[in-house]
Symmetry: C2
Subunit: 347 residues, 2 copies
DNA sequence: TTAAGTTATGCAAACGGTTGCATAAAATAC
DNA sequence: GTATTTTATGCAACCGTTTGCATAACTTAA
C-alpha cells in the first residue's frame, strides 16, 4: 500500500483548531469535552477521512487488542470440523464487539524451543489466549500461570481442571438426553459405542448414559458398552462386537459421528433395519447427518455459544485484573430424525 | 498480565555496554557488527530474557506484520468445512515462516457502514488480505484497488478475474480426471450432478467433464447433466430425475459431497447397487467419504497447498512493491475407493 | 607518517498516539 | 465582588524501536 497518505491526529487537531490531546480524548470518550469542540473535531475527522493508527495506539496503550486462538494442526477430525467452525464465529463476534482482533496460531515449537504461542505472548502480540483442550498440555499451562497470562480452554481439560477457566458442552447432560430420547421412542436395550474412550468427552457422555439408565430404572449392561481406540474401523466393528452378546441391543448411542457412520454401514450390511430393529443416535450434528440413510438423530451442540462464552470469559479476564476461574457448560438438545423413529411417527 | 517486567532494548544495551541502536541492529541483522559486540549483546539478551516488543517494532516500522483471512459467517457448508480447514494450515505455516501473524475476520459491516475488513486496513492492522471468492464482491474489490491494498482471492472469483491474483484447485482438470477414472473402470454412460450449478467451481467441473468425454470419443448427453439450486434434496432428487431418461447412466459424478450422499441414499432406496449398477464419484475428500456405504471414490483437492500458495503470493505482493497478478491452479487427484469399483478388483 | 577509505558504533529524532499535570475559563458559593 | 469549585483544554513527556547522520577507530595506500 503506497497510499501512505497518513493523516494523523495532529492534522485533525490543526484542522479543528485544537490540541492533539483533545482529539485523542474525543476518540476515546475520555473526560469531558464540550459539545461544540466535539462537533468540530468529528467534522474534521470526517473531512480528512481520518482513521486512528492502531499500531500507534496499541503501542501507546501497551496492549495488543488481540487474542489468539490456537488450532491444532495435527487434529483435523475431532476439532477442526463442526466443533471448531462454529465456535470460531462465536469467538469472532464477541471479540469484535469488544474491540479485539482474533489471531490464529498453531502451537508448534519454533526455532529456539519457544512455542509459537509463547512467542506471541512474550512479544506482546496478544492479550489473551483461547486454547483447545487437546492442546492444553501441562507444560504450556504451567508457563501460562507463570506469566500470569489470561487464557480460557475450549473443552474440558485433563490438567488443571480446577485451576483454570474452561467452557465445554454439557456432555453428561447430553448422554442423559440421548438415553431419555431413546426410551421415550420405545427402545429398551440401549448400547453405547465410542471410538475414543479415553477422551473426556466420551467419558462424560458415557457417564450421562449410565446415570440416565439407572434413573429410568434400567440396568446398565456392560456388554452394551463398547469402544475401540482407533478411529478408522470404529462403529463398524463395534457394532459387530456388541451384537455378539446373547441379548441384542435395540438401540445404540454413538459418542461421535464417525462411529455412527460405521454403525449405519454395518447395520446395512448385516441386514439390520434402522430404525425398526435398531435405533441409532449420535453426538455432534455434522451437516452430513441430515443426509445419511436414514437421517441421523443427533445430540446437537451449540458450539457457537461455546465460542461466545469462551471469548467473553477471556475478555473479562483480560480487562478486570484478577478474576476467579469459572467452568461453563453449554446444554445440548436432541434433533430427532428418522434413525430413532421406532414407531414410524410422522416427523 | 501484571508481569510487565518490561525489559527493553535499553536494558539490554546497558547490560552489554553499547547503545540501543546497536542492539537493534543485531536484532535485525542490519549493517556490520563486530563478532565480539554481537556476542556480548546476544549474551545480554539471554541473561535478561529479552524479547523485542512487537507493538513498538510494528509502530516504528509502520507495518502490522499481519494478514487477514476473511471468513464468511453465512456460509458454513461449502467453505467452512474441508476446503477451509486445511487451507488455513497452509496459510498459517507460510505466514509464520515469513514473520506474519494471521488474523481472522468476518466481512460484516460495522457501525458507520465500514466493513470489518476495510476497518482493519484503514486502521493499519493488516498488511494484506486473503479473501474467499464468495466474499469477493465488486464493491469490496474496487475498494481494495482504490486503496492499492495487497490481496489474494481463495478460489476463482466471479469479478475482476483477470485484474486480481487468485488461487484455486484445477476444477477442469478434476472433471477430466473423474471422467477418465470412470471410463478406465469400465463405465460407459456417465452423468454429472450438481447442487450448485451457478458456482464457478461447478461450471468448471462440468466443463472438464465434457472435455474429457469428447476427447475419449464419447457423446455428451445433456440428459445426463442435472442440477438443482437448493442444497437440501440435492443428489437424491437429481438421481431420480436423471433416471427418468430412457437410457440409464451407469455412473454419476457429483460436483459436491452433499449431492453424493443424496445419490447414495437414493440408490439404496431404489435398489440400485453401487458400484455394480451405478458408479459414484464425488468431488472434495471429506473425511466422511471414507465411511459411506460403499466408501466413495473422490477427487481429492490439496487445500493445504492452496493455502500455502495464497499466502506466499500475498506476501510477495506485500514485500515487493508492485507485482503482476497471477492465477494459480492446484492439480487434483483421484482417490479410488469401492464406489467405482465396477469389476470388483482388490483395492 | 599522513591522507583517504573502511568499518563499527553512538546520538538523537522520529513514528502517532496517550495521559498527568497545569491552567484558563466558566459556574457556583459566600 | 471575590473566593472556590468545576469544567474544558493545552503542553510536553513518554511508550520501545528504528534509522539517518556523525564520528571514532582502524586499515590501507602513498
Amino acid at each position: 500500500m503506497k497510499n501512505k497518505s497518513t493523516v494523523t491526529i495532529k492534522d485533525v487537531a490543526k484542522r479543528a483548531g485544537v490540541a492533539a490531546s483533545t482529539v485523542s480524548r474525543v476518540i476515546n470518550n475520555k473526560s469531558l469535552i464540550s459539545e461544540e469542540t466535539r462537533e468540530k473535531i468529528m467534522e474534521a475527522m470526517r473531512e480528512l477521512n481520518y482513521f486512528p493508527n492502531s499500531l500507534a495506539r496499541n503501542f501507546a496503550n501497551g496492549n495488543a487488542c488481540a487474542i489468539a486462538l490456537a488450532i491444532d494442526a495435527n487434529d483435523n477430525t475431532t476439532f477442526s470440523n463442526v466443533f471448531f467452525n462454529k465456535s470460531v464465529f462465536g469467538i469472532e463476534t464477541v471479540a469484535q464487539n469488544n474491540g479485539y482482533n482474533i489471531l490464529i496460531t498453531n502451537g508448534k515449537e519454533e526455532k529456539g524451543g519457544v512455542s509459537s504461542i509463547e512467542k506471541l505472548i512474550l512479544e506482546r502480540k496478544i492479550d489473551g489466549l483461547i486454547l483447545p483442550s487437546v492442546m492444553a498440555k501441562r507444560k504450556l499451562i504451567k508457563k501460562l500461570f507463570e506469566l500470569d497470562f489470561p487464557f480460557v480452554i475450549l473443552g474440558e481439560p485433563e490438567n488443571f481442571k480446577l485451576e483454570s477457566s474452561w467452557v465445554d458442552i454439557n456432555n453428561i447432560q447430553g448422554g442423559e438426553l440421548a438415553v431419555n430420547h431413546l426410551i421415550q421412542k420405545g427402545y429398551k436395550r440401549i448400547a453405547f459405542l465410542s471410538s475414543n474412550p479415553k477422551a473426556i468427552f466420551s467419558q462424560n457422555r458415557l457417564a450421562g448414559y449410565k446415570q440416565a439408565l439407572t434413573f429410568a430404572g434400567f440396568d446398565v449392561n456392560e456388554k452394551y458398552i463398547a469402544s475401540c481406540e482407533e478411529t478408522l474401523p470404529a462403529g463398524y466393528n463395534l457394532l459387530k462386537e456388541v451384537f455378539k452378546t446373547s441379548s441384542l441391543p435395540d438401540a445404540v448411542i454413538c459418542s461421535d459421528n464417525i462411529t455412527a457412520f460405521g454403525v449405519l454401514r454395518a447395520a446395512s450390511e448385516m441386514g439390520i433395519s434402522v430404525p425398526r430393529e435398531l435405533g441409532v443416535l449420535s453426538f455432534d450434528n455434522y451437516p452430513i447427518a441430515e443426509y445419511t440413510n436414514p437421517p441421523l438423530t443427533v445430540v446437537d451442540v451449540d458450539t457457537y455459544s461455546l465460542g461466545e462464552q469462551a471469548a467473553s470469559i477471556l475478555i473479562r479476564k483480560i480487562e478486570r485484573e484478577k478474576e476467579v476461574n469459572q467452568q461453563t457448560l453449554i446444554s445440548t438438545r436432541i434433533i430427532s430424525r428418522e434413525s430413532t423413529n421406532l414407531k414410524g411417527e410422522l416427523l
